[in-house]
């Protein structure tokens, strides 16, 4: 727009002014709160509960359950994370095998080769390379 206006007027400052005018026309300015609304907002702020920092909540919890309880909680978390990791790994392996099987079934075998048997771990075209068509 600046360059368009510049071409039309030959003056960059006029182009800048037009750009600013267009911007002001397109985007409404933010009107400050009325005195009554400002007073209401101040009153709400005064009556709001103080924000409690997270670290204070954690410290309070630790103080209540004690060190032994905290250690037990940490141990539970570690076990839960380990179980989740193992479950995730197993699921990922299953998905990988399913993907391999799907690819083997869908991909066309290269011309002049014996189609590899459909099943997990088969590789189309592997036979012509002296392989047995299966992943090691």
């Amino acid at each position: 727009m600046t360059s368009d206006a510049h071409r039309a007027t030959g003056a960059p400052e006029v182009a800048q002014a037009r750009l600013e005018d267009a911007l002001v026309a397109a985007v409404p300015a933010v009107a400050p709160l009325s005195p009554a609304a400002a007073a209401a907002m101040a009153q709400q702020a005064r009556h709001s509960a103080p924000p409690v920092p997270l670290w204070l909540v954690v410290l309070d919890d630790v103080a209540r359950v004690g060190a032994a309880g905290l250690a037990a909680a940490v141990a539970c978390c570690v076990l839960a994370l380990g179980a989740a990791h193992l479950a995730g790994s197993a699921a990922a392996l299953d998905e990988e095998h399913e993907a391999d099987a799907w690819l083997a079934a869908v991909l066309p075998a290269p011309a002049g080769t014996v189609p590899a048997p459909v099943g997990a771990g088969t590789v189309p075209g592997a036979v012509e390379h002296g392989l047995d068509g299966r992943f090691p």
Binding site: M1, T2, S3, D4, Q16, L19, E20, A22, L23, V24, A25, A26, V27, P28, A29, V30, P32, L33, P35, A38, A39, M41, A42, Q43, Q44, A45, R46, S48, P50, P51
Partner: protein
């Protein structure tokens, strides 16, 4: 002076602070959030934080920069929360909520595509540009609100104009 009065237990002084500062702070909140409704929510939360934290403010002269920082941090938190909420929404729902900037019908002589071009300008440049050009704040006020030097406000405003002009031309 007003801050000292609040710290000394004068509740009425806080109302005076809100009255004196809500204009630029609301403009900052609205420009960062992209909508008037979200801007009001951010401002409300910011004043609550300010009320509870004002006792710790040691230098009353830096009240506006301090309040500006609270608004910026509150707005950033709100934007992050909004982003998390939107991950599960459909594109139509997201676009419907992103409409506020264009919700006010542009006047007939406003070039088509200007608002879309404005959205493509990085916030780092569009916020100072809007605060300076549209909301009419001084460079010193914008500098205080954003916590940056006055020269940086001017350069970012100029870059915002150039980016807007380019986006508009290239649209």
């Amino acid at each position: 002076m007003l801050v000292r009065r609040v710290q000394n237990g004068d509740d009425g002084a806080f109302t005076a602070i809100v009255t004196a500062t809500n204009g630029p702070l609301l403009a900052l909140a609205v420009r960062m959030m992209g909508s008037a409704a979200d801007g009001h929510d951010v401002l409300q939360e910011s004043y609550q934080k300010a009320w509870h934290g004002m006792a710790r403010l040691r230098d009353p002269d830096v009240a506006l920069p301090w309040l500006g920082r609270i608004v910026r941090n509150t707005a950033k938190d709100a934007l992050r929360a909004r982003k998390r909420r939107r991950t599960g929404q459909t594109r139509l729902e997201v676009e419907a909520r992103a409409a506020p900037m264009s919700a006010a019908a542009p006047e007939p002589h406003v070039p088509a595509g200007l608002l879309e071009a404005l959205r493509s300008v990085p916030e780092k440049f569009s916020v100072p540009l809007l605060l300076r050009v549209v909301d009419g704040l001084s460079a010193a006020e914008v500098a205080a609100l954003l916590g940056i030097p006055v020269g940086t406000v001017e350069s970012r405003t100029a870059r915002g104009k150039r980016a807007l002009a380019k986006a508009w031309r290239d649209r």
